[in-house]
């Protein structure tokens, strides 16, 4: 067989094997995305038989005349920073602790992972009950002052509540990533550092963490893009309330489309959200990749 013939044969083989996956992604992700972009230039209320083409009007309105979107953006950014930092720091500390030879270590690892298996909507409703009725009963029984605060009713406390529930649910997943990452670090390097006189803090920051950077890159990227898209927890815990105090961008898009009946405008917002996540994600990966170290 000629070299070109071999190349073509290999190309065809490649295409044939990847075709099912590519077809699935194109049909389920690419085509709806394309339709979203097209519809973002239209005005449609979800019921009229024909959408009306209005050019860039949706995008202009989005950038100049939507205080609710600005408020949602600010909330989402604060929420994302809090979520990413807290989730990763807590997951990393737990991974370090649960990598030590402890008794009941597997049980603890499972215990921290279980919240991640439960659907976010269910978790939202459970915590909603705990924060309101549960805390009422606990306060009546113990008189512990923080239980009497309005965790879902006060705008500032509601922010803390949503961050808490999100972190509680997410930690398990990143714990798994970090434990796996820690286990790839060859013990002899750490041992060498100990013999050279490095204390535990120095060992962690100069040896463990640089070698863990690939895991950190993945975990931070994933938690970042999830936090920017956060919807389920807020929908079931507070529905963006009270008022618009805990409305994230994704919830704002949902309300624009399904409550205000402005589907074209909602699609324009979701295209902008996509671009935001893309840019932030690429910047973040670029920054972290430079700090990775091969062992």
């Amino acid at each position: 067989m000629t070299v070109l013939g071999k190349r073509i044969a290999r190309g065809v083989e490649f295409a044939a094997l990847t075709l099912p996956a590519v077809a699935a992604i194109v049909v389920v992700v690419m085509v709806p995305f394309g339709m979203s972009v097209v519809n973002s230039f239209m005005k449609w209320n979800g019921l009229d038989k024909k959408p009306v083409f209005i050019g860039l009007a949706n995008y202009v309105e989005l950038f100049t005349d939507d205080p609710n979107l600005i408020a949602a953006l600010i909330f989402t950014l604060f929420f994302t920073v809090a979520m990413v930092v807290l989730t990763n720091v807590i997951a990393l500390l737990l991974a370090l602790a649960l990598n030590q030879p402890l008794r009941g270590r597997n049980l603890l690892r499972a215990a921290f992972y279980v919240p991640n298996i439960i659907s976010l909507i269910v978790i939202g409703y459970i915590w909603r009950f705990i924060f309101s009725k549960g805390f009422d009963s606990m306060y009546a029984a113990t008189g512990f002052a923080p239980l009497n605060l309005s965790w879902l009713g006060d705008p500032k406390l509601a922010f803390a509540s949503t961050v808490f529930v999100s972190v509680w649910q997410a930690v398990g997943f990143y714990l798994v990533i970090y434990i796996a990452g820690l286990q790839t670090i060859p013990y002899d390097i750490v041992e060498a550092a100990t013999l050279d006189g490095a204390g535990p803090i120095r060992r962690f920051f100069d040896v463990t963490l640089p070698l863990l950077m690939p895991s950190v890159t993945v975990a931070v990227f994933y938690s970042l893009s999830n936090a920017l898209k956060t919807f389920d927890v807020i929908f079931s815990l507070t529905y963006g309330g009270p008022g618009t105090a805990t409305t994230s961008i994704a919830l704002d898009i949902y309300k624009t489309a399904f409550s205000d009946s402005r589907f074209g405008y909602g699609m324009a917002k979701s295209v902008v959200l996509f671009l935001l996540i893309l840019v932030v994600g690429l910047l973040q990966i670029g920054f972290f990749k430079k700090r990775e170290v091969e062992s």
Partner: protein, 411 residues
């Protein structure tokens, strides 16, 4: 071979049996608290006519699912919606019922919300009222003998209740829909210049000629919300519908703002609860305080439904048969828009009829005329005010902004 023949035979008989039955009308409703009553009615209808009702009952997801089904072609033969503004929302999908025989059996006032340009495009389902519901026993025990009719009197009642250690209100402020129904009642008589003409009022709001920040009566609305929040316990923003009904039923609170649809839930919690209506204060003008009374929940027949005639036959049965006429008053225990229907054995329904007979003002649910989507949009702005997110001036601006955006998008 024998076994598969047997299976085939059974299958054919079953199919034949199914084909011999009547038609199936697909129905998409909300108000899941009425699911039992819907099922009982469907079973009775099947017994009497042979036609089947394929019921799907939703709540929070209802508008989204309805929209998705109307768009995708899976059109339900019968669906439910609000009256007034929803006439416009679903105008391309509803069937004109003006010439149907059963329309003449409906009370004419109930048809105002579903009539557009002389055409009746909806079937009024329930007639409902809402205002402040109070627990009569709690009031008696606290020594309150005169029911309040103004904001000042309501505040005095709250002070008296609190001095007896009773929480005056369960606010319900966690639900965005409790805010509009509470707030708009305080504006129901409308600024004097409109003389109660809701169409012009809403048209002026739609065109931008009138803005909320220029309606000085909005002050009364805010005063009322402030009052409810002040006397609504220490977690006013966390009270939802269930909390309201349970607290009122057990006597933990004295008053809630809800409607006669809440009575069933309240009585289930405490079958001995004695409840009644207080008029909604309009500032300090006692003569204008009244209750909100209208037919808003509407049944609509899809123009392009596959079993449209079967759906119309069902509505005819619902309006004219003995079971159908008694269904709403005796089984749903709410007021029926059918002429000559009996009054339900429900305290709030009785109280509504008594108050109207006495001449207490009864206002239509005019806020349902706001363009679709505004009930939630404005409700959330008011919720933000109650949570302390915005002060009065910023809230009024937010109301105007939200209204302008959605009104513009709706036309």
């Amino acid at each position: 071979m024998k076994r598969s023949l047997l299976a085939l035979a059974i299958f054919a008989i079953a199919l034949g049996g199914a084909a011999a039955q009547g038609k199936t009308v697909t129905v998409l409703f909300y108000s899941p608290e009425l699911t039992q009553q819907y099922d009982d009615m469907a079973a009775e209808y099947q017994k009497e006519s042979g036609n089947k009702l394929d019921l799907t009952v939703l709540q929070a997801d209802y508008p989204t699912v309805l929209r998705a089904r109307l768009n995708s072609g899976d059109i339900p033969d019968v669906f439910m919606s609000s009256a007034y503004a929803d006439n416009d929302t679903y105008k391309d999908y509803v069937y004109d019922l003006s010439n149907e025989p059963f329309i003449k059996d409906m009370v004419p006032t109930a048809l105002t919300g579903v009539t557009v340009n002389g055409r009746v495009i909806g079937y009024p389902f329930l007639v409902q009222s809402h205002s402040f519901i109070y627990n009569k026993k709690v009031f008696r025990d606290a020594g309150i003998t005169k029911l309040p009719t103004t904001l000042k009197e309501l505040e005095a009642v709250c002070v008296q209740l609190q001095s007896k250690g009773i929480q005056p209100f369960a606010t319900g402020f966690k639900e965005w829909w409790v805010l509009p129904q509470t707030a708009w009642q305080a504006l129901a008589p409308l600024p004097a210049s409109y003389k109660g003409d809701y169409s012009t009022f809403v048209a002026d709001l739609n065109s931008g000629k009138l803005k909320f920040k220029n309606i000085k009566e909005m002050g009364q609305v805010f005063d009322l919300l402030d009052l409810i929040k002040k006397y609504g316990g220490n977690k006013p923003m966390e009270s939802d519908f269930n909390d309201q009904c349970a607290s009122l039923a057990t006597g933990k609170v004295a008053m809630i703002h809800q409607g006669n649809w809440a009575e069933d839930t309240i009585m289930k919690t405490n079958p001995n609860a004695e409840i009644g209506y207080l008029v909604g204060p309009v500032g300090n003008e006692a003569a204008k305080s009244g209750i909100m009374f209208d037919s808003n929940q509407t049944i609509r027949v899809a123009k392009d439904g596959k079993n449209r005639q079967a759906a119309l036959d069902w509505l005819n049965w619902l309006t004219t048969s003995a079971y159908g006429k008694a269904w709403i008053p005796t089984m749903i225990k709410q007021m029926s828009p059918i002429k000559g229907a009996v009054a339900p054995a429900a305290q709030l329904a009785k109280e509504t009829s008594a108050m109207i007979a006495k001449g207490v003002p009864s206002y239509s649910w005019y806020y349902q005329r706001f363009p679709s989507g505004l009930e939630q949009g404005l409700g959330i702005v008011l919720q933000g005010y109650c949570a302390g997110q915005t002060d009065r001036a910023r809230t009024l601006d937010a109301l105007d902004q939200t209204y302008a955006k959605i009104a513009k998008a709706a036309d």
